[in-house]
């Protein structure tokens, strides 16, 4: 039970969440309940992944738990924030959003790299061990940068899929491809971690004998589990995104890609034998 009391509120992150809420209130004026719901969940998941016991476990005991936090930030909070943006905000915000969308729209692959690159970067063993060491030794700037870059990566990555400026969105099928290629890269990273020599990430070896470490899972198994979480469930999140895009696409009342059938001439059948 004592484990569940490990809430640690980093003042910088709390400040960030407060600022984000004010900004969101300014943009949306909390008018649309669904969007507010998305925003609320984004904040909830963000706090869960950065301040809750889950985060504490990930920092101190288990790589696999850390991986769950990581995926939460990148693949839940990021997309939820984008989806929370209102579709018809005030003219002032609209022009800003449009300008932002325009500056991003010409290079969706850059946004893909932002999302995927952030994920790979923090898992380079040496970067990983150093940042974890720094974060553990108290309130360092890293401990705020780390979650914020992942949130930003997730936000940018999801932008072309769920952008509030509809004509800036990727075609849903292109979106499926976008997600699928990201899923492959994520599987690859997960696979590398799963089959990497045990102890590639030093940080958790030292943690193995920490007092109060629950469950008693060996650090070798833990590293594998972390890789597997990145490999398998993570892919299911991308897949859920694909299904969401397809479901929206199919349920949209559509026309035949804007073509007018009156312009199509009727067929003259060539009959060479009547049935």
């Amino acid at each position: 039970m004592a484990l569940l009391s490990h809430w640690h509120f980093d003042p910088l992150l709390i400040l960030f969440v407060a600022a984000l809420t004010v900004l969101y209130g300014f943009i949306s004026r909390f008018r649309r309940p669904t969007n507010n719901w998305y925003f609320g969940s984004a904040v909830f998941f963000f706090l869960l992944a950065t301040c809750s016991p889950l985060h504490f476990f990930g920092m101190h005991y288990y790589f696999s738990v850390y991986m769950v936090c990581h995926i939460t930030l990148l693949l839940l909070c990021g997309p939820l924030l984008v989806m929370a943006l209102p579709h018809k905000p005030s003219p002032f915000v609209t022009t800003r959003l449009k300008a932002f969308a325009a500056s991003l729209s010409s290079h969706p692959w850059l946004l893909w790299f932002a999302g995927v690159g952030i994920m790979w970067f923090w898992h380079i063993p040496i970067v990983f061990d150093d940042s974890m060491g720094a974060m553990q030794s108290g309130f360092s700037i890293i401990s705020s940068i780390h979650p914020l870059t992942m949130l930003a990566g997730g936000f940018l990555f999801s932008w072309p899929l769920f952008s509030p400026i509809e004509n800036r969105q990727l075609h849903p099928l292109a979106g499926v491809l976008y997600l699928f290629t990201a899923c492959i890269s994520c599987s690859l990273l997960g696979l590398l971690i799963t089959f990497a020599p045990a102890g590639t990430y030093h940080h958790y070896i030292g943690m193995a004998n920490m007092p109060g470490r629950p469950w008693n899972i060996s650090w070798q198994d833990d590293q594998q589990a972390a890789g597997l979480i990145m490999w398998v469930p993570c892919c299911f999140l991308y897949l859920t995104g694909c299904i969401y895009l397809l479901a929206h696409w199919f349920s949209a009342k559509s026309t035949n890609a804007g073509r007018r059938p009156e312009t199509i001439k009727p067929l003259i059948l060539h009959e060479n034998g009547k049935k």
């Binding site: 035949n256 059948l269 060479n272």
Partner: protein, 560 residues
């Protein structure tokens, strides 16, 4: 450029000859053809040829296994026969048949006159054919491959298999693989660029959708196989050590690379067949497909999931419980989108006025057989069951329920459905029913009992077995069933041959069908269409035939 213009490719001037070779230029016209219909037909004949070869191989195996302690075949020949049987059936029967239908019907169904790259289309076919011939050349070169169709390391290494068979396996499959990849590129471009005006992606027939998804699946999966084959060739020819643990390689690497291709390959062989069923069920139930969006989206989901589960083929290789648990969980989930499809087809039939043509009979039988194969497959996702049953006849039974009860039933259904369009003549429904019952009974006799044999512990790929209680009789039943299937396949091939000349004239639309291929003549002229009817729903031909009861008016999918 200017030199190319002088090369004269014999092109037919009259309507295509259907299935005969007696055209105005004879055989040379077939050999030099870049017409998608002729190439499609050649793919289908290739598949017929190899099903006979692969069938004879397995009948020999079944004769050997009919009684205990048999010495009809020696172990070396036995190994070669089951290896060649598996490789042939998967790479040179199922795959070419799928490509045959796709090459023939994708352009027709989207209102195009040919594929996007006609010459590359021919290239793909000839690569596949020569790949198959290269594989079989191994018999003349000193021995066929003998390490099973998935050709595990270290058995595929020179020290375990010193005949050149496995080298031919590598080069043959590599060649066929190149053909497969180029065909997929061709399909993707054709489907994206050559659809008739008015046919948005959401008006595409489900078969075309499945070919599109399948092509992406191939592009993602085949590089893994091709890379593995090249690495194995390097191992065997140049003494590299990719898969040789004795020198720092990894035997398990082969399994990863092979199943990273191999699991998607199962879907590559089943998705197009789902497409065929999604044409057959609506036409013979006289209803639109139930839940078009669901059918397509679950196809996409299947394709994506295909890459997240391959490790379930390796539960017995000692990857550890952590790894096994994750992949057991993900493998249990892959049944979901397929289940969605099964219910869509059931719902399509529900309340329809069903016509039990042979095509429809096979479609209905598929629902039963494929569900059995799917359920036994799910049972393997449970790791302890997998450990108990792996490498037994239970696996053999499972995979044949998927490949025959799934893929082959679908392809046969497709033959009965589309043969009139390809040849201009009907296959006899009466003889077709004989074929249906012979084949279905033979199939179930052969493979249902193998579940029991596997559960009793009979290992696969062992050339004979001791006279244990029950084993002899069950194996005899299995062999007799195999014989029945053999007779049935001969009957089918006989029907295919004779109906070209003597079948009842089909007319352009014998089934009162829905899609564009039925609006042109049977067989279609060299240029498929001069004009195409307006496309405003997934059943454009039906809309055209019944202007007062159109899908697009009913669904309100209007074009302002």
């Amino acid at each position: 450029m200017s030199r190319l213009e002088h090369i004269r490719i014999p092109e037919p001037e009259k309507p295509l000859p259907g299935l005969t070779i007696s055209s105005d230029q004879g055989l040379i016209q077939w050999l030099s053809s870049v017409d998608h219909k002729q190439i499609g037909i050649m793919y289908l004949w290739l598949s017929v040829l190899f099903i006979l070869v692969g069938g004879i191989e397995i009948l020999l195996v079944r004769i050997q296994l009919a009684v205990p302690n048999n010495h009809f075949l020696n172990p070396e020949v036995f190994n070669q026969l089951f290896t060649m049987h598996g490789t042939t059936m998967i790479f040179f029967v199922l795959a070419p048949a799928i490509f045959g239908f796709a090459t023939y019907f994708v352009p027709l169904m989207i209102g195009a006159n040919d594929m996007a790259f006609p010459r590359m289309n021919a290239f793909s076919f000839w690569c596949t054919l020569f790949g198959g011939l290269l594989l079989y050349f191994s018999y003349l070169a000193g021995g066929a491959p003998d390490a099973g169709w998935f050709n595990y390391a270290p058995l595929n290494q020179f020290s375990y298999s010193s005949s050149p068979g496995i080298d031919y396996y590598c080069s043959g499959l590599l060649l066929a693989g190149i053909g497969t990849v180029s065909a997929s590129v061709n399909f993707i471009v054709t489907i994206f660029r050559l659809r008739v005006d008015g046919m948005g992606l959401k008006q595409m027939p489900v078969f075309v959708w499945m070919i599109l998804i399948n092509s992406f699946l191939i592009l993602a999966a085949f590089p893994s196989l091709n890379a593995a084959l090249v690495m194995l060739l390097l191992d065997r020819e140049l003494h590299a050590h990719f898969f040789n643990p004795g020198n720092g390689g990894s035997a398990l690497l082969w399994q990863h690379l092979f199943w990273l291709f191999g699991h998607p390959e199962v879907y590559i062989l089943i998705l197009p067949v789902f497409g065929i069923f999604s044409e057959v069920f609506p036409v013979f139930s006289r209803k639109p497909i139930f839940g078009y969006g669901f059918v397509v989206a679950s196809g996409v989901a299947i394709a994506l999931l295909a890459f997240g589960v391959w490790v379930h083929h390796m539960f017995a290789t000692g990857l550890g419980n952590t790894v096994n648990n994750f992949f057991a969980a993900s493998s249990l989930l892959i049944g979901v989108p397929t289940g969605v499809k099964i219910f869509n087809w059931l719902a399509t039939m529900y309340g329809g006025s069903i016509r039990f043509s042979v095509a429809m009979l096979f479609a209905i039988a598929f629902l039963v057989e494929f569900t059995i194969g799917g359920l036994t497959g799910i049972s393997f996702a449970i790791v302890p069951i997998d450990w108990q049953l792996t490498d037994t006849y239970y696996v053999v039974a499972h995979l044949h329920y998927v490949f025959i009860g799934g893929s082959l039933f679908g392809l046969i259904s497709g033959i009965f459905y589309w043969y009139p369009k390809i040849s201009g003549r009907m296959l006899s429904e009466k003889m077709g029913r004989w074929f249906f019952w012979l084949f279905v009974i033979g199939f179930n006799l052969t493979f249902l009992v193998q579940h029991a044999l596997g559960a009793m512990g009979m290992p696969r790929r062992v050339y004979t077995y001791p006279d244990l209680p029950g084993w002899g009789i069950l194996n005899m039943i299995s062999s007799l069933g195999g014989g029945l299937m053999g007779i049935a396949v001969c009957l089918l091939v006989y029907m295919l041959f004779t109906s070209r000349k003597t079948g009842q004239i089909a007319g352009s639309d014998p089934w009162d069908a829905n899609t564009l291929e039925w609006t042109t003549t049977s067989p279609p002229p060299l240029k498929n269409f001069n004009l195409v009817i307006p496309v405003r729903s997934t059943r454009p031909f039906r809309d055209w035939k019944r202007p007062d009861d159109t899908d697009w008016a009913r669904e309100g999918v209007n074009n302002e």
